[in-house]
Symmetry: C2
Subunit: 363 residues, 2 copies
């Protein structure tokens, strides 16, 4: 059965009526998800994994199209999320473009894609949709919710909103609110998309999407995911050509060509409107009241992450401790910036495996 287990199981779950924070009731909702490993008879070995801005439900293994999962090195037998022991669920967020209902989905009322008539959603809404999915699987309490960046925000929201349904929450490279600087970067990315004449107020489906604007937004974002140190190590001032400067407005430096590549790759797989909606949800995220939490918490920062700096995560940890929550904190020394939560496999595997073993042992 190993071969079967090593392929992601792709599914989707649809339901009517989702109450949204904006006050609207939205309908219908489909949530695309993948699973890895097997749900046990007691249904107490499930881990919900929550993706970041550009992620999808495809977190683990290589799928039948040969695509690698975004957290592949962390999912599988003997890995951080050990599929010999745990049943891992990863769903695409509400508002996303990886199979879940989002602005590119067809509005049954009009027969046309929602575009900007899709409601502005929050992290709370994303989590409420995930709760429908988890309930549908007959899981009463998740062993863990795990996420990095906006995925970590969702993990924290789960712990606050559904304390009885979350035994543990693992929050990587995220805090209980986005900083002014984070909002600023998101807003410039959104402005870049909305300034693209192809954007057409969000109504570009069937036509040419705002590729240039989305690529710009991705380039801006990408700079914030790396650190000055990792950019220095990776590129420094290395030139593309062998003949020195071009004295033209073309690519001179490796770092420029890397950003262009990242931007142009992204537009092939991501919907610009989803970028607007998900970044807005990130901006809106602000959870000052953590009193309801009952889960064990693991909070992990990365020393060179400047989008969610360690100081901000330490503040969250201090707040949790003052409220006598059971929280473990680690600042992983890393030069890889915000992206370290995707890359620093060895230290994270050790931290996460040990923490989950502890949680599972207390069942």
């Amino acid at each position: 059965m190993y071969v079967l287990d090593a392929l992601p199981q792709t599914h989707s779950y649809s339901f009517e009526a989702l109450e949204l924070d904006c006050g609207r009731t939205f309908s219908p909702v489909t949530i695309a998800y993948e699973t890895y490993g097997r749900l046990n008879a007691a249904k107490d070995n499930a881990i919900l994994l929550l993706h970041a801005l550009s992620g999808s439900a495809h977190a683990g293994f290589v799928n039948d199209k040969g695509e690698h999962g975004w957290w592949e090195d962390f999912i599988g037998p003997g890995r951080a999320l050990d599929t010999d022991r745990y049943f891992v669920i990863c769903s695409n967020v509400l508002g996303g473009c990886g199979g879940s209902t989002g602005p590119a989905s067809v509005d049954p009322a009009t027969g046309r894609p929602y575009g900007l008539s899709f409601p502005v959603i929050t992290v709370g809404d994303m989590v409420r949709a995930q709760k429908h999915l988890v309930d549908s699987l007959g899981i009463r309490a998740l062993l863990a919710v795990v996420g990095g960046s906006i995925g970590g925000m969702q993990a924290l929201q789960w712990a606050v909103d559904y304390p009885e349904a979350v035994r543990s929450a693992l929050i990587l490279a995220a805090a209980n609110r986005l900083s002014a600087q984070g909002i600023a970067f998101n807003e410039v990315g959104r402005q870049a998309i909305m300034a693209d004449s192809c954007w057409q107020n969000g109504d570009y489906y069937g036509g040419i999407p705002p590729r240039t604007g989305l690529a710009l937004a991705r380039m801006i974002g990408h700079i914030t995911y790396l650190s000055e140190e990792s950019m220095h190590e990776k590129f420094g001032r290395a030139l593309k050509g062998v003949n020195g400067y071009h004295y033209r407005f073309s690519e001179d430096f490796e770092v420029e060509s890397y950003l262009h590549y990242k931007g142009s790759r992204f537009v092939e797989r991501f919907d610009a409107n989803s970028y607007l909606y998900i970044t807005k949800a990130m901006d809106y995220f602000d959870l000052p009241d953590l009193a309801s939490i009952k889960s064990k918490m693991l909070v992990i920062s990365f020393s060179s992450d400047w989008l969610f700096p360690p100081a901000q995560l330490k503040l969250l940890v201090r707040t949790l401790r003052r409220k006598r929550k059971d929280v473990t904190y680690c600042d992983v020394q890393s030069s890889r910036g915000h992206d370290a939560f995707l890359l620093d496999v060895a230290p994270l595997t050790e931290l996460i495996s040990g923490f989950l073993e502890n949680v599972a042992g207390q069942l």
Copy 2:
């Protein structure tokens, strides 16, 4: 005479033939400049002040249009650049849009603005043009060259290229090269301008300029000039409206509206092509060989500056000291990020006044 002295004296200087680093000889060149204070008979009290990316020759005093100078608090009787003692010259850079020859200037060969036929220039070229100006004033040696950001790069280039003509160089919030991260931010700003359909490959003069692209570039830049701390102090997550979130893609947060304001103000006074040329010069700047320097040096970093982090300036200082250069270094504790060189008047005035007094005393 105080009233007269308190108005900037505006001038321009034109010359033929400027040799450029790209290999071209460019002609003709006009350099716009302002002066404050009086050149003494010995012509040994002149300070050349060099502006940053968005600056101009208008550094001091309020001019007859009521416009404040970009370093106004540092220029005047008893101030850091004491106009009772020193003769301060501030020139607009080559490639700029504040009166000096740049891409918006008319090419005498065609009778039309240069646009992208303007040569890609370097910090070395800017400084070579300034040397023509200084020579024209009969000044054999400057008491000091002073600049922040790309102005600091120019000050360092002066010290390297014209060691006999520079008694001292004051380098604020700048290093001897731009980091990969700095290049990355500049490139995204340029891409935003060039993606604007109004840009027309740089040939937009007489038509509609690429306002949206330039505003985006400015917004990106502006984030890098502040610090996370100063953004937090200034805006935090404060909302624009009184009724909570809008659930629309309009401005929700103060920080968004601040960025929009900064972007829209900038396009009224700055030329998009100049933005391309000056950022490119910044990217190209890389001065590993500092052996020729004879000037006394004052290097100042700002603790929260992440565009030119203190660590990078310390590296420059260590390099200078290893070469037995006369260098004074100070890291000013400030929450204001890169912009601190424009804002932290009290500590800078003390540092700069003392340093200049020392230099002048040794004449």
